[in-house]
Symmetry: C2
Subunit: 392 residues, 2 copies
Amino acid sequence: MTYKFAKGVASLKPSIIREILKSSGNTIPLAAGNPAPDAFPVDDIKEIVNSVFESNPVLALQYGISEGYAPLVEKLTELAKTRYGVGADSDALIITSGAQQVMSLMSQCFVNHGDCVICEEPSFIGALNCFRSFGARLSGVPVDSDGINIEALEEKLKTEENVKFIYTIPNFQNPAGITMSLEKRKAVYELAKKYGVLVLEDNPYGDLRVSGEPVPAIKSFDEEGVVVYSGSFSKIVAPGIRVGFVLANKEIIAKLTVAKQTQDVHTPLLSQLIVYKWLTEYDFEAHINKIVEIYRRKLNLLCDCIDKELGDFLTYHRPEGGLFVWAKLNDGIDMLDFVKKASAAGASVVPGNAMMVDGEAECSYIRLNFSTPSDEDIVKGVKILGEVARSL
Amino acid sequence: MTYKFAKGVASLKPSIIREILKSSGNTIPLAAGNPAPDAFPVDDIKEIVNSVFESNPVLALQYGISEGYAPLVEKLTELAKTRYGVGADSDALIITSGAQQVMSLMSQCFVNHGDCVICEEPSFIGALNCFRSFGARLSGVPVDSDGINIEALEEKLKTEENVKFIYTIPNFQNPAGITMSLEKRKAVYELAKKYGVLVLEDNPYGDLRVSGEPVPAIKSFDEEGVVVYSGSFSKIVAPGIRVGFVLANKEIIAKLTVAKQTQDVHTPLLSQLIVYKWLTEYDFEAHINKIVEIYRRKLNLLCDCIDKELGDFLTYHRPEGGLFVWAKLNDGIDMLDFVKKASAAGASVVPGNAMMVDGEAECSYIRLNFSTPSDEDIVKGVKILGEVARSL
């Protein structure tokens, strides 16, 4: 039988990352994006799960409501306000199956085939492919060292038709590692208001700041229901439990809730109970301080190794947090050739074009991750990259 | 700000069930569809979760692949063949976040706005709303006492444009309680082949057979990759963990996997490990026998109560399994009036129009559930319904 797939999914290409790295099974994983396993609060979660099954197993096993476990929704609404400075009386919050589901719910609720989503370029491939799969036309705006280029963004808003939202990761952007300045955050908000376009503010890495001062969220300026704010517990608790949340104007949340019901009814209760009890009964601030220490050490180690082994072959902007370093190979080095040879030599990195709106265009960037490999493997892996660079 | 929702979501009406039952908070829940809590293998799951955190907590907490935990995929592929008689060499299977996600992935992968999905009428509202939210045009085919009306189905296949799939629940259909005959299953398969349309066979209740003999799945005839088969652990393990699966031709599964990645990356590992260990280390056949006993008792109790209290006011077809009884109120009883008065009197049932393609059309059916209420509440609830019927 010949299958007639929907337009958005039919035109989706297999991930360039997967293609290039197919043969990289046993390489050092500088390409990955997994949080460090020693950053998981394993003992806390074990205790929580035991106590859930001691006290109220049926709560963890029966159907729940699509909005999420009510005490968790309440706790996060409070935390959003006190810790992240976001959330107005006209807003509501629901629990999602990771922040990835926020991308998907926003697409389902706003994107008709051919509508435009404006995104930073480069950006997170999981979000780009999600928007594409729902038939969105992506329009990329370059990222400067202080965040999205405001002139280019306004030009897009003036010229693109049916723009549904602007997708941005203001803190330690994936992959560029850039943190958007306060001025630019305000400018993005003003432009969104002016052109009647939503902002989807994705903040999975916000708590992983290893240097510099926190910058207020775009959502913190929002008085008109223009900003949809997405958070995640994948990086501060654990990704395998799949818990995120979305905070937005109640009218939007009502639609996202209906869409969530059609996607997975609700996020598993056990996952929600883990996060709820961890936030209310454990010292999560202490845990975040602990993991920030781990990531600071690993980021510094990666940068030191890059400076030593690859200083002659690339340039990069040192991020203030997050999980990634985005580096531009010097002129004369063929990026795809470098990535393939590195993989064959035993160290995998992400080819930058995978993170672009037009994956076919010339690109001289690579993305390096420091959270997945051990410290020892960071040293070994970058050494391999240095050898490959010198051999070209 | 005025929000411009996508067409499929914008036109979605709030659930009639929710509207009607808004004030039914403290009523006896004959309207619900929750499995009976005493049917959950609570002690098994508690042991499993403890052992996971003793032996390999990082496996349960780190990112996994979108296809699902590989040993579970393997085990389910084997079980699909040996227990349910489905799955060919050209097929593959992935884990989903409940069977609801299969509806959603199929919509994302196949439905362009305005495409047609043919469904049984009545049918599961969670599936209908899912298809609608992706912009599908629903076309309903009546259900006879032995399953979907084949002549009406062929007429639809001849006349409807851009039909993407036929959605069917062949075992103990929700809400009609009907089991499709072997002849009709073969006829549906042949028609799907003839007209080049997929079948989405949803089988959440198949294991809950309390009388009669099992009938082979439509997927069991499939030699051409025409049938997409969906299974669930919500009714035989627990719904709160959100684990289901989909089995289909590899080409379809490849697209569904990409879509799953855009929706929630993967189903929580802890949920998958619970199902995997339960299937491999516990006597799940004994558990299914045990819960079938529970459901047989409760179904018989409900039917006995209906015969006694409501025999003069409605007719129904006694189902061979599942969770629901679908009953037609006699002429002269206004169904919506009955449902509202029943809710006010302390017993909630689902108004049948909520399960119809056209929810505005005249409908004299109600759906009663016997898994959620206790035995005592089944007796009390139906007694209330009888009093309401007599008062009209």
